[in-house]
């Protein structure tokens, strides 16, 4: 009855991988995947994608993540206001430790991680990525270029954050 379910099942490992790369924790990543699958199933009836199902699912998951992230940031700011602390910043040590590609990847911004995963790992076309982000292809290309430079520099350990200098 649901030819979609079979296709979804096949793509779940990819969705989970993408979700982990966004959330950096597997437990909240699966919550994100679950919410995205719910949304996809609900939307399938009236808004089924024209092109690649995978790109469509990535776009749903990415939106959900951004929404949740925005909400949690607001929540964090509120917490900070009451506790006067900010525990969400990655530590300075983490910045220095970025030697391997994966560690470098983890340092990138959300959008840069998503871009590189879509293009370099999943092999989506620039057009598909442009549709997901709702920006022109040219914009995708220049953002991708910046993401790649950043990854390169972080992998080489070229970038030291200003806060690191203060510490030393």
């Amino acid at each position: 009855m649901h030819e979609l379910d079979e296709q979804l099942r096949e793509l779940i490992p990819r969705l989970r991988r993408f979700a982990v790369s966004l959330t950096r924790q597997s437990s909240s990543a699966d919550d994100l995947v679950q919410a995205s699958l719910e949304r996809a199933i609900n939307r399938w009836a009236d808004k089924r994608p024209e092109g690649d199902l995978r790109a469509w699912l990535f776009s749903i998951l990415y939106r959900q993540f951004l929404d949740a992230h925005r909400r949690s940031r607001r929540y964090t700011r509120m917490l900070e206001f009451f506790t006067g602390r900010d525990d969400t910043q990655p530590s300075v040590e983490r910045t220095v430790m970025a030697q391997s590609t994966l560690q470098a990847f983890d340092q990138l911004s959300t959008e840069q991680r998503a871009l590189l995963l879509w293009v370099s790992v999943e092999g989506l076309s620039y057009k598909e990525v442009a549709d997901i982000l709702d920006v022109p292809i040219g914009t995708v290309m220049s953002r991708l270029s910046r993401a790649r430079q950043a990854l390169r520099q972080l992998s080489d350990g070229e970038i030291t954050s200003p806060s690191l200098r203060i510490l030393k």
Binding site: H2, R17, Q34, E38, I41, F105, S120, G123, S125, Y126
Partner: protein
């Protein structure tokens, strides 16, 4: 068709296999003659490869059954059914005054029998069986626990087992006095008695013990623990007598 020397975008498109075949060959020839650019391109290719390799493990996670589409589909269905049930309850909101709208206003001065909403609820759910219950007692299911979820420190459900009546189902309702619940008791013969509970309303209209009749129904009502209660049963039945004795009216 790309132009040479290539733009940075063309180089990225090359790394990402997004150039036309003819452009790709053109660029490869050009790169062969320009080793520094070639090294840069190679570094990007390597990063991409490393990324693919280090992220490939993430595809091998053990399956999480919660993520199965069929299961998610069921969950969605269950949720929407619950929404539907809630919507139905709102539609069949019981009016404590017995009548709604302007009619109720016209009648504010005339006496309205207390707890007529309990009788209305009995008619809707015990006699007409309009909607399925929100909670059914299964096995040793605890009706009291279900009720305690919604009404704190309310009087305990009366034990009518001596008379052969068991609590079988519960239903939540909205009334113009606040949220209400009705618990239905049934005996072997299929006779029904309801226990009805709701807040006393905005006027804190607490009731002395009493009873009322209306259209073949009998209601015993009282207040306590911050709520109003009623036991409703068909009148002219030995049941009424039994109730008076068991619950101690």
């Amino acid at each position: 068709m790309i132009s040479l020397p290539p733009s940075e975008r063309d180089l990225h498109a090359y790394v990402d296999h997004q150039l036309l075949e003819s452009d790709r060959r053109l660029l490869e020839t050009w790169l062969a003659a320009h080793p520094d650019v070639a090294a840069q391109v190679q570094a990007w290719q390597q990063d991409a490869q490393h990324l693919r390799a280090s992220l490939s493990g993430a595809l091998q996670q053990p399956t999480n059954p919660d993520l199965d589409p069929a299961l998610i589909r069921q969950r969605i269905k269950r949720q929407s059914r619950r929404h539907l049930a809630t919507a139905a309850v709102l539609l069949i909101a019981v009016s404590a005054g017995g009548l709604g709208g302007w009619q109720a206003r016209q009648m504010t001065l005339s006496t309205v029998l207390p707890m007529t909403d309990a009788m209305q609820a009995y008619r809707l759910f015990a006699q007409n069986g309009i909607l399925p219950a929100d909670y059914n007692v299964q096995g040793n299911g605890d009706m009291q626990a279900w009720l305690d979820r919604y009404f704190t420190q309310a009087h305990r459900l009366p034990d009518l087992s001596q008379a052969g009546f068991k609590a079988v189902s519960g239903r939540l309702l909205t009334t113009d006095q606040g949220a209400a619940a009705m618990v239905l008791y049934e005996d072997q013969q299929g006779r029904r008695i309801s226990f009805y509970i709701r807040p006393p309303g905005p006027q804190n209209n607490l009731l002395p013990r009493g009873s009322s009749h209306s259209d073949g129904l009998q209601a015993e009502y009282w207040s306590g623990g911050g709520y109003n209660y009623a036991m409703v049963s068909p009148s002219d039945e030995p049941v009424t007598q039994m109730l008076k004795q068991t619950v101690g009216f």
